[in-house]
């Protein structure tokens, strides 16, 4: 978002926001009712957020710092980048669930030659991402307004494959239940290249946790989890290969890493602490924190939203 940076009004606002620090009032600068939800763009000091609802707090979908648009605001978006520790140079990336397009922008910054396909069901979200969040699109970055599952099925028919699939289609209020089932995850797995990985931004609480974990395990075997205590999100990191790629936790400094050294500077720029990222990653082959007998979600049985209510 270099345009915004040069914008004088924004700089003025920034100055004010620095003065007032925490007492800045949130201001809705855009709101619309899409086919699926209410969309709000809210400015609060230096932070601009895309929200899908007003009242609840856990619906901040996508945020950016207007003064430093390249920095990632949310822990979960940072956690998603754990995928890069396993697969540092993905050439074809698929993102399901666009939000403000911050993930796509960030990855494009790091991997300008990689191809990124964004899939978002809601045309209005795409429009808002373009207008208010500086969502970049070019010959390498494409956007498809389509249901994620349908896109993946069609991509399989076209014999496409991705090195990295990012599943970020769940907002705090509603879960598309057909994107949680065993059948869906098998389709995702089939769409991955041999070294390909999936990172999914999902839930860390509620009864759904057990069901979801069991489903991922049934399809991918053991996987990594990136958790964060002050956040209700967790990231599931699964790979197509039968054995989970090893993490070299000893070399916690990226710069010392041969394959990962190029990430070090980038992570610093976008505000990601790689040490913390490593620390928060656990593998389910060492620590499985759900009952082994948990039922698997299938296309026949996927009451994800009801399971989430039950324990809220």
């Amino acid at each position: 978002m270099p345009k915004l940076l040069c914008n004088r009004r924004v700089t003025a606002l920034l100055a004010i926001s620095v003065l007032l620090t925490n007492t800045v009032l949130a201001k809705v600068i855009h709101s619309e009712r899409s086919l699926y939800r209410n969309i709000l763009v809210e400015d609060k000091g230096d932070t601009r957020c895309l929200k899908f609802n007003v009242k609840s707090n856990n619906t901040r979908q996508s945020c950016l710092f207007k003064s430093k648009p390249q920095q990632l605001v949310f822990n979960y978006t940072k956690q998603l980048l754990a995928g890069l520790l396993i697969n540092p140079k993905p050439e074809r990336i698929l993102i399901i669930g666009l939000g403000g397009g911050t993930m796509s922008n960030t990855l494009h910054q790091l991997l300008p030659d990689s191809q990124i396909d964004n899939v978002e069901i809601d045309q209005s979200v795409i429009k808002v991402a373009r207008q208010y969040f500086g969502f970049i699109e070019n010959e390498n970055i494409k956007t498809f307004s389509q249901d994620g599952r349908v896109f993946i099925k069609r991509a399989l028919l076209r014999k496409q494959a991705y090195d990295w699939i990012i599943l970020d289609a769940f907002d705090g209020d509603y879960i598309p239940e057909h994107l949680m089932t065993k059948e869906f995850l098998i389709e995702v797995k089939d769409l991955l290249t041999e070294q390909g990985i999936l990172t999914a931004n999902t839930f860390s609480s509620s009864e759904l946790y057990n069901y979801e974990s069991a489903t991922y395990k049934a399809v991918f075997g053991d996987f990594y989890q990136v958790v964060n205590k002050d956040n209700s999100n967790r990231i599931i990191l699964a790979s197509k290969s039968a054995s989970l790629p090893k993490l070299d936790k000893q070399t916690s400094s990226l710069a010392q890493h041969k394959k990962l050294s190029h990430l070090a500077e980038f992570f610093q720029v976008i505000g990601v602490d790689s040490k913390l990222l490593y620390k928060n990653m656990t593998s389910t082959d060492q620590h499985q924190d759900w009952p082994a007998a948990s039922p698997v979600l299938t296309d026949q049985f996927s009451p994800a939203n009801l399971l989430k209510i039950d324990s809220d």
Binding site: L35, D147, E177, H178
Partner: protein, 220 residues
Amino acid sequence: MQTSKQAINYLNLFIYLLAFSSGFSIMCIELLAGRILAPFFGSSVHIWGSIITVFMLSLALGYLLGGKLSTSAVSITRYGFIFIFAGITLIPIVTSSTWVMENIFLAIEDSRYGSLLASTILFFIPTIILGMLSPYSVRLLVKNSNESGQVAGRLYFVSTLGSALGTIITSFYLVLWFNIDTIVITVSIVLCLLGLCAIVWDKVNARVKKASVSGDISHA
């Protein structure tokens, strides 16, 4: 005289119960339709557009056909057969929906028309038949033209109440407890059993009537 009046009331109650079940089944299946189509056609708004369109169209046709069918040789037995037929036509939803949707998915790129065709193939026929039951029930219940409005009103009340319950029970609880296929099969079995009950009822009633008529004759 008293006993025969009582018997008629029971029969009416039974018909209302059947109408309730048909209303329940229609909405239960309609709600599941969204789930059945989602793996192939997604959960975009137009999927519900396809489903509701097909259900409304087939109900409209069902009302027309049911009304027509009730003009000649009306009987509880026939009514029961409609139920059984409805139950049977639900079975392909369980046995062949994946195959049907796979083929449509391959043939039609646009998920709007894909979902429209899929819901037509899967739900059109059973919903027509379930729709036929409403006018047929009215025909069975109405004894004189004076009360026809009241009877029709009561029947709509009962069957729409069934639809409301079918919607809420399916979406709140059934999907949490059972597989989709299990629910569809259960609805199918219940419809067939209710139809069978109606047929048996008719047979027994006919025999009782015959006996009482011959009894009357022997008394005379």
